[in-house]
């Protein structure tokens, strides 16, 4: 991917690795599961063993299978919500930033109103009115979550579009007589990509949290296995207070890992957008090899290049100060 060259810092690689692993789990998880997650034909409350890696629930269900099967519903809802919310925020944010004037005022007001309403309580109110059969539908839930999660992305995209709109290359395209949609899609859109990617990841992160929370308080169908329903059943059967850590800790850790992975990739995108942040991504070993000072003090905020500079002078690396 030429457009989005992520800095190859260990942080970003770790993030990509984690996210990749869980995407794989989403696809193959249900096939890997040794048992059916709902089957109740084992002894209840078994501790982890070779047969049941994470033990069994108080109904005698295999927890490891629930974890593997639950990955899919969790990730699918998060992706659906992330995609829909991103489409909404691009449409509203870019239109507001590009058109300016009255449409901008209206659209900004809309996103500011949605930003000010606390998302989860709104979600709970909407969800509590849903008929029970819609609550088990991943797409309906994803759609509702996206309704409460698009506004932040729209605000960021609007700001970026506004700053791009007046750049010289866009001005030049306009003077040449390019059509408006061509300017929007070929001149402005590619430059929005990093911001777009970052807001998509943020929304997916938010959606996982929102979905798991809804499931945890029992507002999604408890028949659909996801990490939130696992926590719901664990809580309902008092697993935390009776020390059955193997029941409620694994889904929590999985949620946190996916979130960490997404956030780490997002750091990479942030450093791509703002190279000043990148100096932190260079390891001390690389620093030594390049002959850079161990720590960059103030005044100059350098953009550090790990690639070898052309040998014009004997200096081992180039320190470009802004």
């Amino acid at each position: 991917m030429k457009i989005l060259r992520l800095p190859k810092s260990p942080k970003v690689l770790l993030g990509l690795g984690i996210v990749g692993f869980f995407i794989l789990l989403t696809i193959i998880g249900p096939w890997l599961a040794p048992y059916s997650p709902s089957a109740t034909n084992f002894a209840a409350n078994l501790t982890p063993s070779a047969h049941h890696w994470l033990g069994t629930t108080s109904l005698g269900q295999d927890i490891y299978s629930q974890l593997l099967v639950g990955a899919r519903a969790t990730m699918v809802v998060a992706l659906v919500a992330g995609l829909v919310a991103t489409v909404l925020s691009v449409t509203i944010g870019v239109a507001a930033g590009y058109l300016g004037g009255l449409p901008d005022d209206g659209l900004s007001l809309l996103s500011n109103v949605f930003l000010a309403i606390p998302g989860l309580p709104l979600l709970i109110v909407i969800d509590s009115y849903l008929p029970v059969n819609s609550r088990s539908n991943s797409f309906v839930i994803g759609l509702i979550i996206s309704l409460t999660g698009w506004a932040w992305g729209a605000r960021v995209l609007r700001a970026q579009t506004m700053s791009l709109r007046n750049r010289d290359f866009v001005e030049a395209a306009r003077i040449i007589g390019e059509k408006r949609h061509r300017i929007m899609f070929t001149e402005i859109a590619p430059n929005l990509l990093p911001v777009l990617a970052s807001s998509f990841l943020f929304t997916v992160l938010y959606s996982i949290g929102a979905y798991v929370t809804l499931a945890y308080i029992g507002l999604t169908s408890t028949a659909v296995w996801n990490w939130g329903t696992m926590l719901y059943w664990a809580q309902a059967n008092n697993a935390p207070l009776s020390n059955e850590w193997y029941w409620f800790v694994p889904p929590g850790i999985c949620i946190a890992l996916v979130g960490t992975g997404l956030a780490l990739v997002n750091f990479g995108i942030d450093e791509f957008i703002n190279p000043r942040l990148r100096a932190a991504g260079i390891t001390s070993r690389q620093r030594r090899k390049l002959g850079l000072p161990r720590r960059v003090r103030l005044g100059l905020t350098p953009v550090l290049r790990t690639t070898r500079a052309p040998r014009v002078n004997p200096a081992p690396a180039k320190l470009v100060s802004q």
Binding site: N112, V113, P118, G119, P121, I124, G259, T260, L264, G299
Partner: protein
Amino acid sequence: MIGRRLSLYALTAWVAITVNFLLPRLMPGNPVQTMIGKLTGQVTPAEMNAIQLSFGGSFKHGLFSQYITYLTQLLHGNFGVSITLGAPVGAILRESVPWTVGLIGFSTIISFAVGTFAGALLGWTRGSRLDSLIPAATFFQAIPYFFLGTVMLLVFASNLHWFPVLGAYSQNVTPGWNWAFVGNVIRYGELPVISIVLSSIAGWMLGMRNMMITMVGEDFVLMAVAKGLPRRKVIMHAARNAVLPSIANLSLAIGLVVSGALLVELVFNYPGVGDLLLQAVLNEDYPLIQGIFLVITLTVLCANLIADVVYLALDPRTRTEAAV
């Protein structure tokens, strides 16, 4: 600027109120009518009337006249009657809101102060070993609030017995303004506060760090160093300017923190709005759900307004320019 924000919040409050009115009518199967149908015989006719009025009166009237009835009832403070608790929603909320405002407000202030301070340090010492704190902080941020709360409750309260287990105060003290009770409430609040702070601190820390890194490159910081100011003063110079975006973002973040913290109440059995909301949801107690949603939204809007006023006081530029 404040005038603009005020009208935004007024509009938002109106949207929230209207959403509350429209939602039950937009949903398939008309859940409210079903609920009222089920209630016949369970509640007194007077309570039934109050519930029906709080939803806009009889469904036989036109939509607009229902809306007017609904608004008038709200203005008179009639949020309806809770079905399961059998008491007016307003009275129930008056008891639980102070707990939530105290818990979440206190945690947010601590989290903001500590996170911003740590972020300023991290930004200043960028590239040092302290940077390894960042992935750790990110991990804590990615954990759902309620899960972290559960784990902390399990480890520190039920196993190590460092903190009391559940509730907001011990059964042995009588509520009132005396030292024994206040001390007890603080003692019971420690663990919920710590878990909310741990979950929310990373956001402040990272935002501040990134702003600090940008700020350190500015000329005025270089100037401060050139003048030979002691390092602590230079950091203060940069930090005071870097903190402004954090405060501007406060209004965005409060909604997120409140959303997460409501569930912490649930984990710790804290007698606030979060716990109440869950009970209401489980029992399909629609008047209570709607009342809670409105109160949470209005409280968050007030908090936003306070954050805006603080921002205005700290950044003199906003007083002359019409910047939002």
